[in-house]
Subunit: 472 residues, 2 copies
């Protein structure tokens, strides 16, 4: 089967090939491996996701173990766990043994713990030790992302010998990451790095230590995956070595794992920013009650916080009774505060996520947000006053004799509330971070709620000053 | 100077080294190149960003041209443009000639057009042609991201000859991307791919065509950068070839450019989701009026839309006068609709961005959102009714004789508004996409505004039904 070209916005390969492969599985399962040989494992994984669940194990069994492991690596997490849990521990162990150590550890982490231990017990001793070491790291850290298979050579080795060694490893069928060759000194510490390309380019007769870069960007095992992403992206790397305190290489994080981490991290951030817990699963497959729980929790918290508006309004009920016109503008004025807060909080959360802004910058941010808020508030003030005067003049609505004062109340309240919204929205991520929470928890709805309650107080305080002696 | 280790949350290298390098620039500029030789170009670029502007050209002049070009590639866009615009066209041409073609094109795109053409005219003919070709592509497409320097060999070439050719290129000091070697047939069409590692592992005596993968993931030049990112990430690639209609390789997009594109795209999405235009610049450096414009435009649009709430409220002013207690709960009920809408819209925008959900899925999404909205609304309904009954019972507030009916009004309105918020929030990104806009323009504040206006109507309609004959 020839692989169709990639077309945007779809994964057509899988949909096109699934029926054929399914038919082949029924007719002559032994032919499946050869027929799908040229397909990218990612495409074959997509096919696997489309065929009936009971056929998945049949398909994997029809492939050579290494190929089946490749397909498993690209498979949807839930399906992968399901498939492995349905197999015997020995069958599953045979498959996961063929995976790269980092994927093997990630896979075992996803499946049911007891079953994971059975599988772990059934894989060869060396791979088991390696996997256990990786499982000890938090999956969201450099240690949790790294693979332990990498190529390192001593600095004293001759270039030609190093090239021969690399060639041997490349031919061995082992799965070392090989973009970079790491160079160690006699104590085993990392002393340099060179790319496969630089190894090829090196003059004959030189030693590895002569041509390697002695400056190596490294990362500690406990570094958060966001930091790993920042380093890889800042230095345009394809792989970064993870080192221990003695500067010995523990493993390597490759760029493909980092891209996945960046995407996941961004998905979490957007979901939190929207005012909910991160789903941790694709939208379409998350269960109904799980979805309700992830969203309902925050929604209830926001609802309970927003109840203060009812209390605040109760406090000002007398004013509302006297000047019903005030009530008409409450949603308008309040929402403007929420909107300016939402803008500010999104800006700051993102700038923090990419490392543009740090905790100590809060003061500089506040100094930017206050004038920005005043300028935007002044703009809305003009629009708001114009709206009230216009409606009154052309007779669309009668706000009473003191309509001009009501217009001034709304206008001044807008300046105050938009400025306060910008300031509160920009400062909340700093407060969250300072308190040890994820700054992204300072979601747009959270800011809006905060600004709603305080905004009401600003609105009625302005009203009491402006309308004192006339309407109030 | 030895490079300090990377420490999280900071770019300490630059801050630590800048004073030394600055002193060296004054004392013995000729020593700068040797002293900074082992620094990563990214770190040296960070240093460059920290020293006084007038010293930047001095520093770059003190480095070998290729090294200076490397530093320029990592420099902040605005500073890079400034530096190149301040040089003579010949000096600037000497620097950009040393850049990789894709960075050269990107750089010229950033600087003032007339000056860019002068620089372009001063670079060598071949590089100029190459650059002009790249400049013809939209910078946000695969063509705009790709570099034209890559390694390709004919399928009929022997492995050893190919390795020798690759070695010659690696030694030439040219800057070809070399993670993958592309294999062409006799018509020049792309027929296969193999990694440098696979080339090394190939058995002696074989031909390149025998060992290359014939399945090659490719991307058309006009593909959007989001699509490029999706392909690179889906297939775990370090580089993807860009092909023309005849399946000839035009260039290669490497993963580092894709990571930058993913980050930029994500920053834009978060800013739009926050209810503003994308800044396109770092938060800390964007000018005051530019910031006000990017945020004030949307804020004014939202304000004008939200004015409908004042009109709607005006319509129900009679009800508010009769039952002031209703007014107290307007912010609470409305904000819950906005919050559920914000959740739904964030979820869907993100799921669309990573390709999990497509336009045709709108119906399946609606079928998920309606029951989710009802369940969450029912939860808030219970909380809301409990709150009113509790306050009434313990005497915190007196909602009048018909307080139970007011509680029922608030509760039922919450179910309606939260369901409507979830539905509207999830459908708006589809509507945006269908109309040809970026789905991320369906920002949280936009959804909240939409739901506010319609939410008021729901609230007062419920009130009229429940309170008909008693309070209204």
């Amino acid at each position: 089967m020839t692989p169709p070209e990639y077309t945007p916005e779809d994964r057509p390969v899988a949909a096109l090939l699934a029926p054929d492969i399914l038919a082949l599985l029924d007719d002559s399962p032994t032919a499946v491996a050869a027929e799908t040989e040229e397909l990218h494992a990612a495409d074959l994984a997509d096919v696997t996701e489309l065929i009936p669940r009971e056929k998945v194990a049949v398909l994997l069994a029809a492939l050579p173990p290494q190929r089946a492991a490749d397909v498993l690596e690209y498979l949807d997490e839930d399906l992968r766990a399901e498939v492995l849990e349905a197999m015997s521990a020995r069958q599953a162990a045979a498959l996961v043994s063929e995976m790269t150590p980092d994927d093997r550890a990630d896979t075992l982490e996803e499946i049911e713990e007891e079953r994971a231990e059975e599988i772990l017990a059934a894989i060869p001793a060396e791979a088991r030790r390696e996997t256990e070491q990786l499982l000890a790291y938090d999956p969201d850290t450099a240690g949790g992302l790294m693979t332990t298979e990498f190529v390192s050579v001593p600095a004293s080795m001759a270039i030609e010998a190093a090239l021969a060694a690399v060639r041997t490893i490349a031919r061995s069928g082992r799965r070392e990451a090989m973009y970079q060759i790491y160079v160690t000194d006699e104590t085993g510490q990392l002393s340099g790095v060179l790319s496969l390309r630089e190894l090829l380019a090196a003059p004959e007769g030189a030693k590895v230590g002569d041509v390697a870069w002695t400056e190596v960007v490294t990362i500690p095992a406990q570094a958060d995956r966001e930091e790993v992403a920042r380093v890889i992206s800042n230095y345009d790397l394809v792989a970064v070595p993870v080192v221990d305190d003695a500067h010995r290489v523990l493993g390597v994080v490759t760029v493909d794992d980092v891209i996945d981490a960046i995407q996941e991290e961004q998905t979490e951030d957007v979901q939190k920013l929207g005012g909910m817990e991160a789903l941790d699963e694709p939208y379409m497959t998350v269960g109904f009650w799980r979805m309700v729980k992830k969203r309902g929790g925050w929604l209830s918290f926001l609802f309970l916080s927003e109840m203060f508006t009812a209390s605040a309004m109760g406090h000002y009920a007398g004013d509302v009774t006297k000047v019903v016109a005030l009530a008409l503008f409450i949603p308008l004025v309040m929402s403007s505060g929420g909107n300016s807060g939402s803008q500010a909080t999104s800006l700051i959360i993102r700038a923090m996520a990419i490392g543009e802004i740090r905790l100590r910058d809060w003061w500089r941010v506040a100094l930017r947000e206050i004038p920005t808020g005043i300028a935007m508030g002044a703009g809305l003030c003009i629009l708001g006053i114009a709206r009230i005067l216009l409606w009154q003049e052309i007779g669309l609505y009668n706000y009473g004799t003191h309509y001009a004062l009501i217009a001034v109340t709304v206008g001044l309240a807008l300046i105050g509330i938009v400025t306060w919204g910008s300031l509160a929205g920009s400062m909340l991520p700093f407060v969250m971070k300072r308190l040890g929470f994820d700054p992204a928890s300072a979601s747009a709805p959270f800011v809006a709620t905060l600004v709603d309650v305080t905004g009401l107080v600003i609105f009625f305080s302005v009203a009491q000053i402006v309308l004192n002696g006339t309407l109030l």
